[in-house]
């Protein structure tokens, strides 16, 4: 059963990822990304990380992808990109070679070198039951890792302020002073004409 679920969700994840890359239309890429994110959420359920599966669907598929689609539609960049034009010659073969070599390196480390994952338990917090997952995670976050949680709160605040600053229309005072100067020049010219 677990094998079947894993294989199906792996197929869903990988086909979605390939769809993100190969779609000409950015909206299609966003929808393929939803497919991948749901597949990853299924894997989280399979690994008994139920809270993270819910967060994955709510935050990633519910918020981040919606943000992507908003930006795509608001900016009108949903025109298809011509994928046949290669801007820098040799970029694509090199990119594929680099991606394949990263995969090869990970594969080598994973299988050849150590023969599977190794390591030790470090956080001294066992995972426990899947039904208690949210409780255990919350207790760990707000006791041992409470400083990190505060730091992420700070990070999110900075991100929100930064987004607002970046997306407001730039430098209104400068434009108004420019207008004022132009008005002054116009008035000067009119005065000169009147004198003539």
């Amino acid at each position: 059963m677990e094998t079947v679920v894993f294989l199906i969700s792996a197929a869903v994840i990988l086909s979605g990822a390939l769809g993100v890359i190969f779609s000409k239309n950015p909206v299609h890429s966003a929808l393929f990304m939803v497919q991948t994110l749901f597949g990853v959420a299924v894997l989280f359920v399979l690994l008994e990380a139920t809270f993270l599966a819910a967060i994955q669907v709510i935050v990633y598929a519910g918020a981040i992808v919606i943000l992507f689609v908003f930006v795509i539609t608001l900016l009108g960049v949903d025109r298809a990109e011509d994928l046949k034009v290669e801007p820098i010659s040799g970029q694509r073969p090199l990119a594929v070679v680099l991606g394949a070599s990263i995969f090869g390196i990970i594969l080598t480390v994973l299988i050849v070198a150590v023969g599977g994952p190794t390591g030790e338990q470090v956080a001294n917090t066992p995972i426990g039951d899947a039904s208690d997952n949210t409780k255990i995670l919350g207790e760990a976050l707000f006791s041992t890792h409470v400083f990190s949680v505060e730091l992420t709160a700070l990070l999110l605040t900075v991100a929100v302020v930064g987004a607002v600053v970046l997306s407001t229309r730039p430098t209104k005072p400068l434009i108004s002073t420019l207008d004022k100067q132009q008005n002054d020049n116009l008035e000067d010219e009119l005065e000169e004409k009147g004198e003539e």
């Binding site: 890359i21 991948t36 990119a95 994973l110 917090t125 066992p126 995670l137």
Partner: protein
């Protein structure tokens, strides 16, 4: 055939490679961001599967923080894209070489 942690790590490696290749191939900054999200998801699968393998909650805690950082990164990145698009209607990553001075 039972599914071991190695299978999850293998899937994460494939997903990460796809994300890397897409990031290098595509020129639309929005799709480049999506590829970064794919790579982050691959790392998340790795964290959770290793945490499950070692019966350790640390993996899931790391994924929680990765999610927060990913959300912040997307917000700032999309704000940057909006700010760039406002000045130049047709933008791809190669057009930004004017930033080099």
């Amino acid at each position: 055939m039972s599914i071991t942690t190695t299978w999850y790590l293998l899937l994460a490696a494939i997903l990460f490679s796809i994300g890397t290749t897409g990031l290098l191939v595509r020129r639309n900054p929005l799709i480049m961001f999506m590829c970064i999200e794919l790579m982050l998801n691959a790392v998340n699968i790795t964290f959770v599967s290793i945490g499950s393998h070692l019966n350790d909650l640390g993996g899931q805690l790391a994924v929680f923080f990765v999610l927060v950082v990913a959300a912040a990164e997307v917000v700032i990145g999309l704000a940057l894209v909006v700010a760039i698009m406002r000045r130049r209607s047709r933008t791809n990553a190669d057009d930004l070489k004017i930033l080099g001075g």
